[in-house]
Every structure is written in C-alpha cells, then in structure tokens.
Amino acid sequence: MRSELNDVRLIDGHLFRQLNEEETRTVETRMLVDNGFAENVAAQRTAHRLVRLYGQREDRRRLDAIYRLLLTDINFALRLKTIFT
C-alpha cells in the first residue's frame, strides 16, 4: 500500500510539475520501461481532468442559482431590463 501511495504522489507531482530533476528523471524512465506505470499516469491525468470538470460543473450550478436568486431582487432585475430594452 505504501509503495502504491508513493506512486500516486509521484504521478501527481509529475502532472502538477512539482518534482525535482531526479524525481522527474525517475518518472520519465519508469514511463518508458513500465507500461502499467505509463497507463496509470495517463489515467491519473484523465482523472484530474474529470475532477476539474466535476468541480466546474458544480460551480456553474452554484452560479446559475445565484443568478436566479438575484433575478428575484427587483432592483437587480430592473437594471438588467433597462440595459437590454
């Protein structure tokens, strides 16, 4: 478990460009010689993209809810109506 945890940390460090030169060389070498490791790097990169997509989706929901809330404020709604008429 510990070595697997270390691999996750190492891959995260590689994806977020937080590794020193020696660690970077280690990751790059392992990606060349270890297909399983290379697949994990690719999948972890996609996982981060999906987590970000999820976060942005949730934030968009939050912003849409704020917009709908503010439209119930007469002054806010009237200002927008004045601008677009």
Binding site: M1, E4, L5, V8, E39, N40, A43, Q44, T46, A47, H48, R49, L50, V51, R52, L53, Y54, G55, Q56, R57, E58, D59, R60, R62, L63, D64, A65, I66, Y67, L69, L70, D73, F76, R79, L80, I83, F84
Partner: protein
C-alpha cells in the same frame, strides 16, 4: 451549509454583473451571452481563489470585469478561451466547444458514469484537488477518523477512478 443568500460571491455578482451586461450590450451582445461570459470569468476567479493563486491588483470587481471582457471577446470571435493570456491559463474553464465536441461528450459521459457508481469518491477527490481542502478538513467533512485515513481513502478513490477510466478507454478502442 451556505445558503445562496449567504454565498460570499453574491455581493460581488450583484455589484459587477449589471456593469458587465451593459458593456456587452454596447458591443452588441445579449443578456444570455453576458451571463455565460461572466460565469466563465467567475469560474476562473473561483478556481484561482481556491488554489491560492488569485492576484488582485486593484479590486475583485475590476479583476472580474477585465476577465469577463476577455472571455466575451474570445467567445464572440470564436476563439478558444483555452488560450487566455498568461496568468489566466492555469484556471480557464473547460472550453465550451471542447465540451460540446466528441472528446467533451465522452468525458462528460464518463464523469456521469463515475458519479453514478461512486459519488462519494468524486466528492472526496473534488474536495482535495479542486477545492484544495486539507486532509484534516476532508476527514471532518466525510467522517474519516483522521488525516491518515483521509489520505488512504483519497488514494483508494483515485485508484478506483483510474481503473474505471482504463476500462472505458479500452472499451472505446
């Protein structure tokens, strides 16, 4: 839990959006377009704020209006908002055209599938990687016994998601 009324973004939204909407109107845009670009800018603002990389030199409103204007101009000119100027590129929202395209549709589908099979895992990963919560916060929020347990759970979740992704990619090929 924060209600919408208490959401700290509400005062900034209320104060900034009408000014931005007026700017978009002057440039021939619609209310819907103004809202979309404003939300793109707010996503950039929120992501940078969570990551601790937000650098506001004047006011939050000025930062937001400037960013929203860039988002609007790029959307209007059909240019990708993935190529925002330096300083904005780290937190740009996913390009809407990409999301609507084949790759975007596949990733959205994969995300929906992951949320159906393990929403809690996605929540844990979002808390750590997107909201930048500490392990202690995550432990408290999700009922883990401590930081170490939260770190192990995060690892297990990432492993599970990675395996789902590998399966989906093998299936797609």
């Amino acid at each position: 839990m924060t209600t919408q009324q208490q959401d700290p973004i509400v005062p900034l939204y209320r104060d900034s959006f009408p000014d931005f909407a007026a700017m978009v109107r002057r440039m021939g845009g619609t209310l819907e377009q103004a809202k979309d670009s404003f939300h793109d800018a707010l996503l950039i603002y929120l992501e940078k704020q969570k990551a601790g990389t937000l650098q506001v030199h004047s006011t939050s409103k000025a930062y937001l209006l400037g960013t929203a204007k860039i988002c609007w101009l790029r959307t209007r000119d059909n240019r990708s908002i993935l190529s925002l100027p330096e300083g904005l590129e780290c937190a740009e929202p996913e390009d809407r055209e990409f999301q609507a395209g084949e790759s975007g549709a596949r990733e959205n589908g994969l995300l929906d599938s992951l949320l159906r099979s393990g929403k809690k895992c996605m929540e844990v990963l979002k808390a750590f990687y997107y909201d930048h919560c500490s392990m202690q916060d995550i432990a408290g929020r999700f009922g883990f016994s401590g930081r170490r347990s939260a770190a192990v759970q995060k690892y297990k979740c990432l492993e599970k998601v990675r395996e789902e992704i590998k399966k989906a990619e093998a299936y797609a090929q």
